[in-house]
Amino acid sequence: MLKSISTWFHNRPRVRLAALLVAPLFWLVVAYLGALASLLVTAFYTINTFTGNVIRTFNLGNFQELFTNPSYRNVVVRTLGIALSVTIICTLLALPMAFFMAKIAKPRTQKVLVALVLTPLWASYLVKIYAWRTMLEPNSGVIDWLLGPIGIHSPGFGFAGIIIGLSYLWLPYMILPIYAGFERLPNSLLDASGDLGAKNLYTLRRVVLPILFPSIVAGSMFTFSLSLGDYITATIIGGKLQMLGNVVYQNYSLNLPFAATMSMVPIAIMGIYLWAVRRTGALTSL
């Protein structure tokens, strides 16, 4: 019986393909894209100014507010700045660490290091950010307590604090793909470049970085997109600064259609980003 089913399927590859794809596509297209589409439609609705109930009439008022109110433009620019800074900091920190882990550390140490880098991923996100509150507290925080004597002071809560906090949270997501990228990079290639007379820096720039590029892009998907949508970090260590996510979050309970409108901003940004990186093959090296 089983055998005949198996043979039947074997002779009909299209049916096998359909069987493989029907459930996941139903999930992703109908449930997920459907929900996003519905959100997009909501962005054109409005609310009753008193009760906050959604009124389902089509209008462009929300988008007008988004494009004409300078404070929303500021928040978008500020959030993009934060997300880019976090991505750059994470890349700069991750490259030497991942290189050390993949190419210099002994196999035993290597495993330990990978574990050490992964561990914080399992400690609660919220607790880590609250720990950063204790770290960044001006005058009485851990940074001032630890580094104050050598003249380094905490930047306090705000723009710099958010960038540090988010870089901290997403660093492992950058290290891992780069580490995997280094592992895939054959040592012989580095040797060959050296044998051909290339200086280390030259090898790094012309051989290593191009090969690693998809890995870096893969890591940046996390660091960039997770920063782009974050609102909890800004609440806890952002001082009086707000990010795009805060606007969406606040409006979710006050004015759902406007929250939907604001959500279109990160969707558009990530859409462009994904479209741009698709060709690098980064999507499969996450």
Binding site: S6, S38, T109, A123, S124, V127, N200, Y231
Partner: protein, 268 residues
């Protein structure tokens, strides 16, 4: 390529700085779980173990753990099935829209959680009339967990190639036998690593959960969120976090053991 002593030391110290960056805040968490102050004032004036004993008595934590495990296991299980299906379809067949699928799979994790959260919440409660609850949490988590399983499995499938299966078929095994005896053992490590990652993603997820959790359901991150801002409870949250850090070494050890099949380190 040779690495000079200086570069080597520079790299070692950068690694050290990186690890310090990662571990100092975690140490603060652990120290604060013994801090007498309820609002984490630094440096601690005195130490106490009362938060640890209070945490053990706390039934809310246990309840929350139960919900988190349910959500994590269900989401990881579903993601395992869905992600593996897509990985097989993409790696074994060529069809129209194949490229688009990899984009589609990545989308839920690359869009901010708050967007996924309010989109699902809006669709469930406004469009479909489904009450938020465990079911909706699982749907939300599965959506962004599919990608990690998919990526793990597809990478492994690419590496093992198709020749083993062909050999098995040539030797007379049917599709099911081949899958059971050849394909499955080869991808088991990837499946496990994918499932562990999916479980981990779900276990620490807060944003999507906030928007999909219904009455009476507090996953661990939601419990933490609700309690972190309450003076009597905040130190207990640190105890929970410290415990999580310790326990997290276990699955990491396991996934390392099972998926650690390359040993290219230590060359320079």
């Amino acid at each position: 390529m040779t690495i000079s002593r200086l570069t080597r030391y520079a790299l070692i110290s950068l690694m050290g700085v990186g690890l310090a960056f990662i571990y100092i805040p975690l140490t603060v968490v652990v120290v604060n779980s013994f801090n007498v102050s309820r609002t984490f004032s630094w440096p601690p004036k005195d130490f106490t173990t009362q938060w640890w004993s209070k945490a053990i008595e706390n039934t809310g934590v246990r309840e929350a753990l139960k919900w988190s495990f349910t959500a994590g296991l269900a989401a990881a299980g579903l993601a395992l099935v869905l992600g593996t299906c897509i990985a097989f379809a993409v790696s074994k067949y060529s069809f129209f829209g194949r490229e688009t699928i990899s984009l589609l799979v990545v989308l839920p994790i690359s869009l901010p959680g708050i967007v996924t959260g309010i989109a699902l919440n809006n669709a469930f409660t406004q469009d479909l009339g489904i009450s938020t609850g465990m079911f909706t949490i699982i749907v939300g988590h599965t959506t962004f967990c599919i990608v990690v399983v998919y990526n793990n499995v597809i990478a492994r499938l690419k590496r093992i190639g198709g020749s083993l299966q062909e050999a098995s078929m040539d030797l007379g095994a049917n599709g099911i036998t081949t899958f059971r005896l050849i394909t499955l053992p080869n991808i088991a490590g990837a499946l496990f690593a994918g499932a562990i990652l999916a479980f981990g993603l779900s276990f620490d997820e807060i944003v999507v959960t906030t928007f999909t959790a219904g009455p009476g359901i507090q996953t661990l991150p939601i419990w933490i969120y609700n309690n972190l801002f309450r003076p009597n409870q905040a130190p207990i949250v640190n105890v929970v976090a410290a415990t999580l850090i310790l326990f997290s070494l276990l699955p990491i050890y396991l996934s390392q053991k099972l998926s650690g099949d390359s040993n290219t380190g230590g060359r320079f």
